[in-house]
């Protein structure tokens, strides 16, 4: 079958004048299973390929098997496309495609759509056989218009049926074509994507999808009077686009780790899926253990045998792993533990974002178990932090926890292609004879560091134990030995901290308020700060990558601001609770670290934070600051 070339049809210049916008937010929502996720991700990828910055967020149904046409069933994707780098999901959507009107309500309910937004709505429901559906559709249409949305009724199904026999399975590609017309996307790039995606399914499937895209493009070109042009900021660095879990997986390979031992848990699992498909190319293996405890135990066995492993999990899995994490601290076994945080407590919100595991990461272990905890703030950092984490785990001989979250895990972003270096990859296990004068825990007085013998090394024999032990790994109950060994393990954090640099303040070095964040909120916080500074407010922000130990100099930075507050995605009480107030997790830690009366604002909406809401909160806290509440600052 011959497929028309892009430039014969789709790429021809049109008479309509496109509106130039610096960024736009598009959402595609459907009942689950209708392919809106795929459509959104491909739209994001194509946009990135054209040189735009993108950030995509999955819209996840509230129920596993939601009933058809229900608010609980909205599934899809939000794609924010911009001129330069896009760092977060933004505020409200500018254009929404809805496969039925009911799923759209779930987005209206959470205020995700801007007044004045354009809505492309499947119109087949107005002629449905069921009177209830016809009435619901008509009522919704009137309601949408009264809310200020501009609705475009689109006969998606009818048009798709002209090309394929099963419209339900083709609508997403048809819509991808329609969006490509509206946003002037180069459809030849879509062809290449389709080719890649459906290669295994054969040419017929590729052709049918290509035809759907073309049909959607042509229909929209002829019938929809909307054109947006999002300029591109030219860049000559090679760029990649992927989500955070893939970045973690690739980072694991680039770090030279060879074993990923895991137990399936949302939203961490897709990182191991990625590895399962690609790890063998670097000689690595994914072990799916019988449970979370076995997963980390298996990893620690490999670590003892000289191969630094990774285990990837989420909150409930982290809870199960804590006994072994404490063990790894005590026995000083290198391991990288990735915790893709999700909503809690307990099984909480399995598919949704939260930053609720920070204190658990630091403290959830039997006894006082000092360990390194890091949090990447971007998808790019998800990659690079794996390399750093492995290096730190081996140099400091212990567990390194890396906290990402569902926002990073499933969001897609473009970033400069990493330059992989051979020195990141592990050297083979050293099996040369052990120097008998060196003890298995020959703790350096200043740094707490020691060298570790690995099985196979002649003369290095020792018995690793989770019991209190001396430098020879001899089980020891003497109080002085316990004090000394605890000191050695703790000192490692102080030694690491000395090597870290003071974090940079975003904005001016002094001001009225400093917003402190960690993890995936970076983009939203900095965008909020930009807006506030444009309004003339003296607001800056600081983003922490190391949570244990903290980067140095925080107290001094805080002293240059009238007020310091954290912004986080975990629960905290409102300031009106006074002394009874429970604080957000980073605020809690920063207070003990700096003795500054750090304020906080946090929320657990199950979605990433939008810059608009952060800016609103800061405005209101600043105005409180002008009043008697100023007493609460510093």
């Amino acid at each position: 079958m011959s497929v028309p070339k892009a430039n014969e049809q789709a790429g021809t210049p049109r008479a309509r004048l496109a509106q130039v916008v610096n960024q736009h937010i598009v959402e595609i929502v459907s009942d689950s299973g209708e392919g809106a996720q795929t459509c959104g991700q491909m739209f994001g990828t194509i946009s990135a390929k054209m040189g735009n910055g993108v950030w995509t967020v999955e819209i996840i149904p509230a129920e596993i098997e939601p009933p058809f046409r229900s608010r609980a069933g909205a599934s899809g994707n939000r794609i924010r496309v911009g001129k330069g780098v896009v760092t977060n999901m933004g505020d409200q959507a500018d254009l929404v495609v809805a496969f039925n009107e009911q799923v759209l309500y779930s987005r209206i309910d959470v205020d995700a759509i801007a007044r004045g937004a354009h809505i492309l709505l499947e119109s087949k429901w107005k002629d449905d056989r069921s009177e209830d559906i016809r009435e619901a559709y008509a009522a919704a249409l009137a309601d949408f218009e009264s809310r200020g949305f501009i609705v475009h009724e689109v006969p998606m199904e009818t048009e798709c049926l002209k090309v394929v026999s099963d419209a339900r399975r083709g609508k997403n590609m048809w819509i991808l074509g329609a969006l490509s017309a509206i946003y002037e996307r180069d459809v030849s790039l879509i062809d290449a994507e389709l080719e890649r995606k459906f290669k295994r399914k054969g040419q017929k499937v590729i052709d049918s999808n290509v035809n759907l895209v073309r049909a959607g493009y042509d229909w929209a070109d002829a019938n929809i009077d909307l054109r947006y042009r999002i300029p591109v900021a030219p860049t000559n660095v090679p760029t990649v686009v992927m989500n955070g879990n893939t970045a973690v997986g690739l980072g694991v390979m680039a770090a030279g780790m060879e074993l990923c031992s895991m137990y399936p848990i949302t939203p961490a699992t897709s990182a191991s899926h990625y590895l399962a498909g690609s790890f063998s190319k670097v000689g690595g293996v994914v072990h799916q253990a019988e449970d979370e405890i076995a997963a980390i135990g298996f990893a620690l066995g490999a670590s003892y045998a000289g191969k630094t492993p990774v285990t990837i999990t989420s909150g409930p899995g982290l809870a199960l792993k804590t006994e072994f994490i404490g063990f790894a601290v005590m026995a000083e076994l290198p391991i990288v533990i990735v915790d893709v945080q999700r909503g809690g407590p307990s099984t909480g919100l399995p598919t949704r974002v939260e930053q609720g595991d920070l204190l658990a990461a630091l403290f959830a272990a039997p006894g006082d178990a000092p360990k390194i905890v890091m949090a990447p703030a971007t998808i790019e950092e998800c990659f690079h932090f794996m390399v750093t984490a492995r290096k730190l785990a081996e140099s400091f001989r212990g567990p390194v926890l890396v906290l990402t979250d569902a926002n990073l895990a499933t969001g897609q972003q473009n970033f400069p292609r990493p330059e992989v270096r051979e020195e990141w990859i592990a050297p083979p296990i050293d099996q040369s004879a052990w120097d008998r004068d060196v003890r298995p825990y020959d703790w350096d007085g200043a740094t707490g560091l020691s060298e570790r013998p690995v099985p196979g090394q002649k003369g290095g024999n020792f018995v690793l134990t989770g019991l209190a032990h001396d430098e020879n790994s001899r089980v020891a109950y003497e109080s002085a030995i316990n004090q000394h060994s605890m000191e050695a393990r703790s000192r490692k954090l102080a030694a690491l901290r000395k090597t870290l640099k003071t974090p940079d303040v975003y904005g001016d070095d002094t001001g009225d308020l400093l917003v402190v964040g960690w993890g995936s909120t970076l983009g939203a916080i900095e965008e909020a700060v930009d807006r506030l500074r444009e309004e003339g407010r003296r607001v800056s922000s600081l983003h922490l990558r190391f949570l244990s130990p903290f980067e140095p100099g925080l107290r001094e930075i805080f002293s240059r601001f009238k007020k310091v507050m954290t912004v986080e995605i975990n629960y905290s009480d409102d300031p009106s609770f006074g002394d009874a107030r429970r604080l957000a997790q980073l605020a809690w830690l920063l207070r003990s670290e700096t003795l500054v009366d750090v304020d906080c604002w946090s929320q657990v909406p199950g979605t990433p934070l939008a810059p608009g809401i952060i800016a609103d909160v800061v405005r209101s806290r600043l105005s409180e600051n002008g009043s008697a509440a100023a007493a609460g600052a510093r």
Binding site: G301, A302, K307
Partner: protein, 317 residues
């Protein structure tokens, strides 16, 4: 005296190890504890085999028996309660070159570690697992274990254990991929030694249950077996564990049992009247997870970098 065959000679090695080379810290078990017999059999066996100490890893969990690695001068991993098997599997996963022994107890393996036990059998990775089963928790001072017999007194069940014990042999035999299941007793060192030897020689996971005396908390528990030899059934076969005349004399109730016969193995294991001693089951054809785990070992760094570059190409725009 413990060699399998009289005419067997150890191959010549550049260095020869003596028993002392395998002696770790002084054992701190109670006098008469069956664990001592296991330790000594293991040390003698590795000495006779001249296994380099640096190539031996002994992994354990928590409990009296799990102290065993501390007393062997080799590499040891004294881990967490119930978690010896996942650790051992992890060690094995990337190190086919090491000799791996696991010491676990009935609480460790059959209570808190049950899931790991079942799956380790299924993974069938090359290692020798010794279940030192004394039918009681010793380290924490006499609580019922899953193998404590019904009605037996313990601190958690002063009125007698309310339920029947689980049968570790039957359980193991019933798990897919079981490849070596044997039982021996601490009070018969030659049989214990021969069992460890056969277990170590077997490729795959060898599960050896040792009936282990705890004179401290289960004094006299196995006396009956020692006094009345008819209660023990010695399994022999040309494919089984070699027995010398002394063993035969100690266990005169002897039956031929082909270890390839799983149904027969289950019959002996499930017999409520007698205890089998010997090799119940062996399947050299059982699949092993080792093959899967060891794939790609030793891939050179430059090959890895090239592969990662190709992966990055897939995401490059």
């Amino acid at each position: 005296m413990y060699e399998l065959k009289q005419d067997w000679m150890p191959p010549e090695r550049p260095q020869s190890y003596c028993l002392e080379d395998y002696e770790g810290g002084a054992p701190r078990w109670c006098p008469g504890c069956g664990d001592l017999a296991v330790l000594s059999a293991l040390q003698r066996y590795v000495r006779d085999q001249q296994l380099p100490p640096e190539k031996i890893v002994v992994v354990s969990g928590i409990g009296c028996s799990s102290r065993l690695p501390h007393y062997v001068k080799a590499y040891g991993f004294h881990g967490l309660h119930g978690r010896a098997l996942p650790v051992a599997c992890g060690v094995r996963s990337r190190r086919p070159d090491l000799h791996l022994f696991v010491a676990t107890g009935d609480g460790d393996c059959c209570a808190i570690g049950t899931a790991h036990w079942i799956h380790a059998i299924r993974y069938n990775m090359n290692m020798t697992v010794m279940l030192l089963d004394n039918n009681i928790y010793g380290l924490t001072k006499m609580q019922s274990s899953p193998t404590t017999g019904k009605g037996h007194y313990s601190n958690t069940h002063p009125g007698g254990a309310p339920l029947s014990a689980i049968n570790p042999l039957l359980t193991t035999l019933s798990i897919t991929n079981a490849s070596f299941v044997a039982q021996t007793a601490d009070w018969n060192p030659p049989h214990l030694y021969a069992t460890l030897a056969a277990a170590h020689a077997h490729k795959g996971l060898s599960f050896v249950r040792v009936l282990q005396r705890c004179p401290h908390f289960m004094a006299g528990y196995f006396d009956e077996l020692q006094k009345d030899p008819s209660l023990v059934r010695l399994l022999t076969h040309e494919n089984g564990i070699a027995v010398d005349p002394a063993v035969q004399k100690a266990f005169p109730n002897r039956v031929e049992h082909d270890p390839g016969d799983l149904a027969g193995a289950m019959k002996f294991a499930g017999d409520r009247e007698t205890h089998p001693i010997g090799l119940l089951y062996r399947n050299d054809q059982a699949e092993s997870y080792d093959t899967f785990m060891a794939s790609g070992l030793g891939t050179p760094a430059n090959v890895k970098v090239a592969a990662i570059e190709r992966e990055l190409d897939r995401f490059t725009i």
